[in-house]
Symmetry: C2
């Protein structure tokens, strides 16, 4: 904020018209200067944004962190020239940054907005995500913050074809989110031609109404009509509002208005000049809209009767999914910002323990995994500590949302139960066999895979404080407790469970295969083969030091067994770490689920796919032969 001019406030609609001309001009100037970008998709929505920012959005641009600010999310993230032009208009960024930074290397004004900018809540650019994320913010506002802020979302019409939009409207109406407003910029042209529904606003209206929204259709270039619509939408109530705005792509420059072939293209310099003439030339308005009344979110206190930390006796058989449920309930008592969500399987993931203890902090997402992740992202925007659970396999449904959560720098905690063939009779559709690969490949992620109750409890607690995307993999069946409550499980560590000076091989497992490794070590001991056993509970980051020390001590012989496909899981984590070390010699046998499994009992399947104790022992013998 270096601009010392006094901003215009309480804008008249005439002033708003000037503002929208400036937004169009700056959308063109910035994208032409960058040589790429989406000016025409910005120009269609400029009037919507001018009215919103000038007269409705309650936002203290000097305090983007204020709890009471409204939220503005560009679900159509490619309209970043418009968003950044708004930031210039309110004096948040300078014209110089807009003109020299947009889409350039090292600049915060990226091609699509990310929260590297303090006014951006979530990264967008993968369509159909901004509205679902906004549902999470609105849930926080209505049920947790209990503050009167509104969440305004600019959607494109093309993205209405994404199922996630309908998951979002479904949940928004289910949770009566009157604080949520979607502005749909119906400019009828997608990237490669007309959209599916064109300017059929009635078709959109029927859909949005049937999903429980209040719908207002307007001419998206009629400022008084937009103003009325935003006024009605911002008044709240018990239903989300969808404003359907019929707009013209490229509006304001006749050479491109409603023309195909101008999606995602900066205007060449000479066209940009003509456009500026048509739009009345450059402007340098400084404007401010309404500011929220001072308010603060309620102080949260720990529940009065916190549950005790879960404890399990050594050898007691406990499913790690159950231990997770116990741990989350315990955390709920000591950590007032912990919030949980699940997709209709909380009695399987054991998140229901938390839901019963803290119903006001539990949100049922029904079977809508994309919205599950998006809600977690939105809650993290408001500094809650969301845990989202479903079967490990079903997180694959939301991988794009998980990937984008990392770009949003959101801190979300995902817990996937029913990992691997160990689940047994339900068969392959329910077996998480790609989840470790998927989660490891997420930027900055943490991937955890405990094998017993105490380690699950400890790691669940670690996750609560962990920034970024973290993932905990749990197992369906019960296995013996290996550790005590006092054992520590730092993220990035590993536990050496068996170790002697005579070890000739290192066995590495996690989850159910750790128990198989222990059984194999017992079997091998009877043959006087001493095996070191490592519990690789932290799959990412991995404990390279412990792995190298063990490999070095055991002649470089390693057997990894994992209940996961061979690519990208435990074995890859070990191989990546060891190959970078340069340790010599090295020889790894990698047992994993290589064929398509069917139904069966857990022990039958572990044996059949080749990851059981007997296979581990056989691999050791082959390494030693």
């Amino acid at each position: 904020m270096t601009d010392t001019r006094q901003p215009a406030t309480d804008l008249s609609l005439d002033e708003v018209a000037e503002l929208s001309a400036q937004l169009r001009v700056d959308s063109i100037r910035s994208s032409t200067s960058a040589g790429s970008g989406h000016p025409t998709s910005s120009m269609s929505a400029a009037d919507l944004l001018a009215v919103l920012v000038g007269r409705h959005l309650r936002y203290d641009w000097d305090r983007p962190e204020a709890d009471t600010n409204d939220h503005l999310i560009f679900s159509k993230g490619h309209a970043s020239p418009l968003l950044y032009s708004v930031y210039k208009a309110v004096g948040a960024i300078a014209d110089d940054e807009l003109m020299t930074g947009y889409r350039r290397f090292g600049s915060r004004l990226q091609g699509h907005p990310t929260p590297i900018l303090p006014w951006v809540d979530v990264a967008t650019g993968s369509l159909g995500q901004g509205l679902p994320d906004a549902v999470g913010v609105a849930l926080a506002g209505k049920y947790l913050d209990k503050l009167p802020y509104r969440v305004w979302v600019l959607c494109g019409d093309s993205e209405m074809a994404e199922g996630s939009i309908w998951e979002a409207l479904d949940k928004a109406s289910h949770y009566r989110l009157g604080n949520l407003v979607a502005l749909v910029d119906v400019n009828r042209l997608g990237q490669r031609g007309p959209t599916e529904l064109g300017w059929n606003l009635d078709a959109y209206a029927r859909r949005a109404e049937s999903f429980g929204a209040k719908v207002i259709s307007v001419d998206g270039h009629d400022l008084p009509a937009i103003d009325l619509a935003l006024h009605a939408a911002g008044a709240g109530g018990d239903r989300p509002t969808v404003i359907l705005a019929k707009t013209v792509k490229g509006k304001g420059f006749s050479e491109v208005e409603d023309h195909e072939g101008w999606h995602g293209k900066a205007l060449p310099a000479e066209m940009a000049e003509r456009a500026l003439v048509e739009l009345g030339g450059e402007r340098n308005l400084l404007v401010r809209g309404p500011v929220p009344a001072f308010d603060r979110r309620p102080e949260l206190r720990p529940a009065s009767a916190a549950a005790p930390r879960p404890a399990y006796a050594l050898g007691e058989k406990v499913a790690t999914r159950k231990a997770y449920g116990d741990a989350l309930k315990w955390l709920g008592g000591i950590h007032p910002r912990v919030v949980a969500m699940d997709c209709e399987v909380s009695n399987s993931t054991h998140t229901d323990e938390f839901a019963h203890a803290y119903p006001e902090r539990y949100f049922e997402m029904y079977i809508a995994e994309q919205q599950l992740i998006a809600a977690a992202v939105g809650l993290s925007v408001r500094h809650y500590v969301p845990f989202a659970s479903t079967f490990a396999a079903f997180f694959t449904r939301a991988y794009d949302f998980i990937r984008m959560a990392a770009i949003s720098a959101a801190s979300i905690r995902l817990v996937g139960s029913h990992a691997g063939v160990e689940i047994g009779a339900d068969g392959p559709s329910q077996m998480g066999l790609e989840d470790l690969a998927m989660m490891r490949a997420v930027q900055g992620s943490t991937v955890l895979y405990p094998s017993d109750g105490p380690s699950t409890v400890a790691l669940t607690k670690e996750m609560a404080d962990r920034p970024g995307v973290s993932y905990l993999r749990t197992t369906r069946g019960g296995y013996p407790t290996l550790y005590s409550e006092d054992d520590e499980f730092p993220i990035g560590g590993a536990k050496v469970l068996r170790s002697t000076d005579d070890d000739v091989v290192t066995l590495i497992g996690a989850g159910v295969t750790l128990h198989e490794c222990l059984a194999a070590a017992d079997e091998l001991a009877r043959e006087n083969i001493a095996a070191r056993v490592i519990d690789l509970y932290s799959v990412k980051p991995v404990d390279t030091e412990t792995l190298i020390a063990a490999a070095d001590a055991t002649g470089g012989r390693i057997v990894v067994s994992e209940d996961h496909h061979p690519e990208g899981g435990l074995g890859s984590a070990v191989a990546d770490a060891l190959l970078a070390s340069g340790l010599t010699p090295l020889r790894m046998k990698h047992l994993a689920v290589r064929e398509l499994p069917g139904s069966g009992a857990a022990h039958e399947l572990l044996e059949a796919v080749g990851i059981s104790a007997s296979h581990i022992a056989r691999a050791v013998r082959a390494l030693l032969a």
Copy 2:
């Protein structure tokens, strides 16, 4: 078909009633015998299935491969006891198999249906996928096979919360799929309690109608009403039909009817006995419904004027996405079953070349990636050769569908453009940086990553004949042509582009990083460091032999550079292969995208994230130091 009895055909509704009692009884018997399963979710839909199978489904149970058969897809795959009980009733399987096989190890009667059974088109069990898959089958029926078969889908009510259901209905109405009928079993109870909309059939009806479906609401236990509904639905027309059936979970056994707590639970033996008494005991009906009239799909002929095989001059700069577009158009001319789809970005992926040449074999999926994959799966059911393209990043949206495609043993070809930071200014939301990890972890998948025009053409052709899920990763920018039209690129191979007897290090890349490896080799050559360069165009399966030979010849020194996150991509493929070999010594430097990238020019980003030629050369010097 060992049953020699004469089946009842042209069932009266009284006979249908007997059949539905048998389906309920067998659903209970089979799940109780297995000790797990979903009898109550089967019982709610038993009347729907009895009427459908007895009087409407045109299916030759002796010829499941017949082109003219209707299709029956259980989107609610957990109702497998009902499906398998139908198979028994028509004599396709014996009662003994049902009672001793269901959910058992080694049996084809798995917990959720898979195409290991000849009457099953697609694997289900991850909810919200059967209906989208069915859209693909119906597209084939209406537009390609041009046969009058219908596609009947049994949906659960809980899965209506999945956005993918709405993507499916949207596309079904857009493509006027009057040959598609969804039967929604609205039993109001999900796994852990009531569904979101309960028995509010009107709410479902408004939604389905707004998405373009013809809706018929019925009492799902009123056989004449069901019969009328199926008759109306099966008559076709220009709109898909959604039959909303109000049903009672556990219908037929009063102790569990409409009771919570009975989802996914087999009845204990003594309860099952009481249920059988209430249902009138065991039956052993053998029934057959209508059989389709003989017909066959039209013979397809290659287009008369096939485009020539694309060719590029050595050194000519060509983007691999463009070469893919050229190749697909060429293939379209010589391979009449090749079909293409894209999600609104065909002018970026270059699939538009095929779309313009063969519009009758191109389906625009708009921005709905889940439906994109599902349509490909459905088309593969009908033996077409689908190629589905979008940005590499956006396949993450459909990972659950890709995973399930593998379980369906579907042969689908996915092509992801705009891989990695190389895309430049658009920023991280558009950068495919997890796609190799994701695709490698799919069971039985093939992952290809060409670096120039001729290799892209050759690999696109290889994909057409490849079973299973195959993935081709393409690059945005143009890079020099390295190969000639005569070079061969077998899947599972690799190309050694530089090789001398004095090589001291192996450089491995693919796509843009292969060109960086070549530049690094040039730079190193000026320092008299000889580097072998490998084009790892086949990431899975990987050419272990070539990798081992190169590592062995270059003192075990390997540098891998990839435009992908460090987990699960090229580096992991190399590490997995080499560590299993036992080769000594081995030392790998792995250059990958480790931090969150921003916008910028391609060369700036390659340099900034550390995967450019200069970084590769530096890594070599460090290995040699």
